[in-house]
Symmetry: C2
Subunit: 799 residues, 2 copies
């Protein structure tokens, strides 16, 4: 590998910052990948065991006991998860071209129709699951509240608490048990994982059928158990799982496969379907079709096309139709305790809200509060997750124990704290029933005498959806005492933080909306008659401000809230409050989902390059030396390379006598090599063939990507010694058009290229002639800030 | 330039389709660009005079009298417009790096604050212009209708016609005159031009201040003149013009510049601002903030980022606030004849529409009708524009004459056709006034006796906005006779086609909505009592179907219509109808805006590569031989090259003694060369300098891009003979990190790279060592289907 790294040409002027570290090149080169990674390891970047390709043969680095023990991966209790990069590049090899030429119009038509059918199916299923989720939660939680209420009516308060707390405990423990034993990946929100997947990072089993199962039932149990968590994040994950399952043609493990769906066995089509699934999840959770599309666009997806917009919208519309039809069906009372279904609260009050200067000032204050509380929430959540991870890492029983602890605390709060609140006489002339005992209602009786209600119980002793509806309700200005609201806010803020890390599918939307709506209502009540706006609308604005402060989403949050409340006239105010809270919170830290992505060690690539990358060139970070194959390679060499490395791409270089001078043919993928080797059409001599037998024997679909974790492995292959000495022609399966950059290319621009095109491998070619035709391969890992700053610690100052 | 084009290496297997045309390489190479273009010229692609860079010295090709005479550019009556490519690549040269290092936090803060301020300002101004437009139109048109109505009341029917037709004629002729003489580029919708701009094509003066002026006033006059055209397209163009004007820091021509805005003197920031402007335009036209964002996303923009979503949304929210405040102000009656303002029609009827199977079938039929009529509309529009172009090309007077002719036809239709309709007795118990004489109202008196109204006059003898409102109105099932609706549909369909090509700012939304709503109402009336849906809702669905059939937008149309009518419950039906009509119409032809983009000869790049490009490699289409500079080049050579070519980028190659072997340094831009030459710091000898004097004398902002058409020209520079013999060091201003592809790269993948990164120049480097280090430069032109199919006509078969 001599000569691979020539001295920098004089056009590339070393910047002052770099002068001090001129020895790194040699070091990282000599070390052969492992050396180059020394800095990265100390930066505790999770090494992806099966990705990368540029480095020399090396053992997969074991995960060090450093910062990463605090990762969510640890929290969900698994061992080292393999993280795989996705590949959106079209492999243009001879096989692909032959296939393209022979592809008939009928096949293209099939593909288009199937894609639409899949999108329709994703919408249908996600809508059904969303409805089922609501139905189950409202029935289970309603039944629980009904029993407790009845017992309280009989003044058997302690028995009521035991019944209430017992129900919560059993439900919560069951949720934690299925999560810990069946699919640890289903814990948490799921939005960070989906976001990372759509960025090109596939964490193990994150979209597997078992995860889907646990996500659905764990979420139902968790929400029913009265935890301060939501079903919204899990619904997004559920939608993505459904899309993945449909896209990969069912599950091979459970013998549910469909050959028709071979067209979608590639990362590009899967990405599109999963984007649709994520949008469908939001649409099902909030019944907000436009909000779902915008969520997918703003938060989830990393790549976007105009065609995708239409497909996503179609999916969410299907969800809306399904939900509407099912709720219409339930209106006849056939669905048990099922009410209006979830969060929806069309307040068909036709009076248009008006507002004055004092309201705008109050809203600016709300925005500031939201920003500060949001930043603080993210900071505290980060710390708490780190503590939890230590507990969760010790195995499933401890996970369940943690969940039980949180469940008891939650039950104690939601049953105990309402006793602090005074009984208030029912308002005269209210349209709503007062007081109520059952599962819902704005005025809960709790311990109060007839004709009185307990304001705090209306918030605590309820499903989260109903509590939000009560906070948002208009025309109920004096329903809640100030003190009740303060108590509720403090409790929810703390419980929200404590609950997220437990081993239960748990969304963050609901706790955040609850806490935000509460302080919004506090501000509204404080302003009182000075304001033209109803406290219910202030609650809406408060929820918006806290969402902006934690999640840092803007357009989608805005549209979701407006679709939820049907208050289009509030648009400018909601935008103002979001703008302020997001801007303020951005001064402190990153959005909560981005923070969790980092904590999980998922190598997420931002759309823009970091500024310090402009001071480096591509060859600065590439880890060498390379393993490259000849165009016609000995089987033994290939098998050996596949066994000792985890690389997924290998450059193919023709050397004399195959060509006049060493010449880069292209890039060959590990998965394609395995399929080719499995065919066992080897040759005795090292001569170039026409490749026709490969083209005859294989179709492009034979090289299609299997579902994650289901591909062929090199250990599955077995060769005789004779076969190992034979040759195989790699030309037909080599991608002859890999994307390349010259070694002196600015790293920032190489990173933009890598990210814009969704690459997995980017070949670095030498600038000066007469050298080996390839310098190295850039992968996602090489472009991670942790890796780069590990190699060049002095860039950190200027960072 | 020998050896530039080696025989294809054996990895690149020629496909059967290509075998027949193996002589093209040599041909196109020998011909030196001109030869390579032979095919393209016959394909009548407009040659961009000042773009491109790869080819040899050649005269700009004059536009041929072929298909292009039918272009809209011809229609708007200009001579050859220079079309310039935009460049979104970050030029990473030494100057940039120095500047980046010295850039202070304060500057970055300034940049961010200024960008937000600009976005706010765009929203404010677009909102104001949108309101002013509505105000002026409603007052002028209202006054016109009032006079005519009064005259008709006195039974002076012929005088009434003269007054009506005369007003229309004067208004129309004035609009055509200012358009033809001041800014021909302001004719038409403007959406295709904005779309092309955001794709990276800057047509001359398309966003100039004069265009803005004519667009605003021409649109007001045109709409007031009663033409069948809308203000929506022009509003998009207006928003983009405002954004451009603000972004380039005012107009230097009119001495309105602001030095603060130097940060935005680059194509990337301008693109962002113009996207916001386009969204603001839609928001102002339809008062649909979310619809505006989605329009910008779906139809206008070619590149999209998450940050942009938030900025666009902020702009449209500002527009919404401004409009709301102004309309609130007008409610007190201070705005003359101004009514509720534009199209908005919040039908606060709280009864949720229900629908059965027969309705769904009717809606499917509507979708089919919309698809067929939409495809036919686009086809006919294409033909009519070709005929008009012959007329419009002959100069301004003929343009005005054409406009006058159309004005007379329109007046005759809208005044004459209502006489065909019978007088209908006013409905009993209607909440609306019946009959009315003035400018608006659902029941127009026209020639009818008291207590009767003329249904056809309610549609024809009205502003277009009011006609749409009447068609959409609910609870007026039998207002219009079947025959009236048929007559109206036929007239509007034909007038819409005839009107678009005239030299007046004219949007297509209104004619399309009018025609669609009419046949929707026909279907609704036909179904009558069989249906649960109101004919007004069928009109909405009809409008959606025709919009889907012509414009092929989906999500944005859907959201705009729903925001307009506040009928969120109609979402699934609107989506269904759009899906069907778009799918059917796509079988016939392209969307109307895409069609106009092609017709105008604007080199629009699609996001996906054409399938036949997979059979070609990058070097197949590159036009050579090159003009390249040495790293230290003689001034005379540079001036010569700049004078004889129109190229905008030149490769810089260091040759011995500057380097050991010929080596590519990078790419230097024409505009940067001009600034450097203007500095006149030349050297006596050909030696490499440290470049420090350049770095001392210039800052990166000196090389910032001027507003379109305002940059320095080579003709402006003057050199003595002595200076021409001196040398200048190009290294400091050379972009050392240009994007490159290897010559054997699949053309499809090169095109995707080019498009994804928004490049202007893509360098093609040789695959085999020992050759000149650069094969050629790919530009937008080289990737146009017309060019490629001109070079390889036999690919057309498989196309």
């Amino acid at each position: 590998m001599d000569g691979n790294h020539a001295p920098h040409s004089n056009q590339h002027q070393p910047s002052p910052e770099r002068d001090g570290s001129f020895s790194y090149d040699i070091e990282s080169m000599d070390g052969g990948g492992g050396g180059g990674l020394r800095g990265a390891a100390s930066e505790a970047l999770l090494r992806f065991d099966d990705d990368d390709s540029g480095g020399g043969p090396r053992e997969p680095l074991l995960r060090k006991r450093t910062m990463n023990t605090t990762s969510q991966i640890a929290i969900v209790g698994a061992n080292v998860f393999p993280i795989e990069s996705l590949d959106y590049e079209i492999v243009e090899n001879d096989l692909f071209k032959q296939d393209w030429r022979s592809r008939k119009k009928k096949q293209i038509f099939q593909y288009v129709v199937l894609k639409w059918a899949l999108v329709l199916l994703i919408g249908l299923l996600t809508g059904l699951v969303g409805f089922f989720n609501n139905l189950a939660v409202e029935n289970i939680a309603g039944f629980k509240l009904l029993i407790t209420g009845e017992l309280m009516l009989q003044n058997r308060y302690f028995v009521a608490f035991l019944a209430y707390g017992g129900c919560n405990l059993v439900l919560g423990a069951t949720a934690a048990a299925i999560c810990a034993y069946i699919a640890p990946a289903a814990a948490g929100s799921g939005i960070p994982e989906v976001k990372a997947y759509l960025n090109g990072v596939d964490a193990y089993s994150i979209l597997a059928p078992s995860t889907l199962f646990v996500k659905i039932f764990g979420s139902i149990l968790g929400v029913s158990a009265g935890f301060v968590l939501g079903k919204e994040g899990p619904m997004v994950h559920t939608g993505a799982c459904i899309a993945n399952l449909l896209g990969q043609g069912g599950s091979r493990k459970y013998h549910l496969t469909c050959n028709w769906l071979k067209y979608f066995k590639n990362d590009r089509d899967r990405r599109d379907l999963i984007t649709c699934g994520a949008a469908a999840g939001v649409a099902a959770a909030f019944r907000a079709p436009v909000g779902g599309v915008l969520f997918a666009l703003e938060e989830a997806a990393s790549w976007w096309r105009s065609a995708l917009l239409w497909r996503t919208f179609f999916t969410t519309a299907v969800v809306a139709v399904v939900l509407k039809a099912l709720i219409e069906f339930c209106r006849s009372g056939k669905c048990g305790l099922f009410g209006q279904g979830g969060l929806i609260m069309f307040d068909l009050s036709s009076n248009i809200p008006t507002y004055g200067t004092q309201d705008v000032i109050a809203i600016i204050i709300l925005g500031i509060i939201g920003g500060v509380f949001g930043g603080l929430f993210n900071f505290l959540l980060d710390r708490i997750l780190r503590v939890y991870s230590i507990i969760n890492e010790r195995g499933a029983p401890l996970k369940i124990l943690l969940t039980i602890t949180i469940s008891i605390i939650t039950s104690a709060c939601s049953y105990g704290l309402p006793w602090l609140a005074p009984c208030t006489p029912c308002p005269v002339g209210s349209m709503e029933e007062c007081p109520t005992i059952g599962r819902s209602g704005n005025y809960k009786s709790f311990q109060c005498p007839p004709g009185h209600y307990n304001g705090l119980a209306s918030l605590f002793f309820n499903t989260n959806d109903d509590a939000i509806r009560n906070l948002f309700s208009r025309g109920t200005a004096n329903e809640f005492h100030m003190s009740s609201l303060f108590v509720f806010f403090t409790a929810i803020y703390c419980l929200g933080l404590l609950t997220y890390g437990i081993a239960v599918p748990s969304g963050l939307f609901i706790p955040v909306i609850l806490a935000g709506a509460t302080y919004g209502r506090i501000v509204g009540t404080l302003l009182g008659p000075m304001s033209d706006l109803d406290p219910g609308l202030f609650a809406l604005l408060g929820a918006a401000s806290f969402l902006g402060g934690t999640m840092r989403m803007t357009v989608s949050v805005c549209v979701i809230l407006l679709e939820l409340t049907n208050e289009l006239h509030m648009l400018p105010l909601v935008m103002l409050v979001l703008l302020i809270s997001k801007t303020i919170a951005d001064c402190f830290n990153k959005g909560v989902y981005d923070q969790i992505v980092v904590m999980k060690g998922l190598p997420f690539m931002e759309a823009h390059a970091e500024p310090y990358m402009r001071q480096l060139v591509a060859s600065d970070v590439v880890s060498g030396p390379l393993i490259s194959f000849s165009g016609v390679e000995k089987v033994g060499n290939i098998v050996q390379a596949l066994r000792i490395t985890g690389h997924n791409g290998f450059p193919v270089v023709d050397e004399p006598p195959l060509s006049e001078a060493p010449e880069l043919v292209g890039l060959v993928l590990r998965s394609h090599l395995l399929v080719l080797l499995n065919g066992k059409n080897f040759m005795k001599d090292k001569v170039k063939t026409s490749g026709s037998f490969v083209l005859r024997r294989f179709g492009a679909f034979d090289f299609a990507k299997a579902g994650s974790g289901k591909g062929m492995k090199v250990e599955d292959l077995d060769f005789t010694d004779e076969e190992m000495e034979m040759y195989v022609d790699l030309h037909p399966i080599t991608n002859t058009s890999p994307y390349t950059v010259v070694e002196t290319m600015s790293l920032a621009k190489a990173a933009v290229l890598f990210r814009s095109l969704g690459l997995r491998h980017l070949l670095v070619v030498p600038k000066t002639p007469g050298r080996h035709p390839i310098v190295g391969i850039l992968t996602r890992h090489d472009l991670m800030p942790e890796h780069i700053l590990g190699l060049f610690p002095n860039l950190r100052k200027s960072h």
